[in-house]
């Protein structure tokens, strides 16, 4: 029991430090990196809390969170790389705005 408590405290301290980096971070990518680290440690925290409280069903939530964290990181990076959620949609909308509406959906 004591080792669950120690590991949980360590993970919570690591989450707080990573949140400090996310708040301080001078660039956008520092914040994304800190968010990714917080997500990884949240998976560990969910598993440890499940073992600590004797409810290992928390592992299902940890599994779901592991899936979502990866996709969230990739989606955030894609959004800030292209400044839009979908490059094809951006091309079509800019073509419509410029009046080149010749119906050519080549994307």
């Amino acid at each position: 029991m004591i080792m669950y408590v120690a590991a949980t405290i360590a993970v919570i301290v690591a989450i707080v430090i990573a949140l400090a980096r996310a708040i301080l971070g001078p660039s956008l990518y520092d914040r994304v990196l800190a968010g990714n680290a917080v997500g990884t440690k949240t998976i560990l925290l969910l598993g440890l809390m499940g073992f600590l409280t004797g409810r290992p069903e928390f592992l299902d939530i940890a599994l779901l969170y592991a899936l979502m964290n990866f996709i969230a990181t990739i989606a955030i990076l894609k959004f800030f790389g292209y400044r839009t959620m979908s490059p094809q949609m951006r091309d079509i909308s800019s073509r419509l705005r410029n009046g080149h509406n010749d119906g050519g959906a080549d994307g």
């Binding site: 080792m3 990518y29 990714n36 440690k41 790389g81």
Partner: protein
Amino acid sequence: MMGERMDSFIHYASLFLFAAGSFFVITGALGLLRFPDFYTRMHASGVTDTLGADLILWGMILQADGDWLLIAKLLIIMLFLMFTSPVSTHSIAHAAWVGGLNPLLGKDLKHSDIAPDRDETKSAPEAQSADGQHEGGTE
């Protein structure tokens, strides 16, 4: 008798794994806070996150008491983290490099010159497809 000794061995092994995992998690977080540069921070966070998470998950596997459903779930989480943690770290680094974030160079890590092959990277297809709107990573 044999089962008792095995149980205590498993107990101490998981104790050691939890301690090592906590150490690596704390070390990675401290590196994420204290290192001078984005790329060095990424190294600290990315390397230790994978190892610390895997060690803590191995400790939990040893504590699962032979429950095969729990062990399977923990192994799936571990496998997934083992694949996705380096991939997301790499994609953050690639996005930062394409987005124009320069690493600190030199022995003292003080100046941030343009890296030698910087222009070649700038004209990569990823950089061009955004209509030249890459104004750099810093806010």
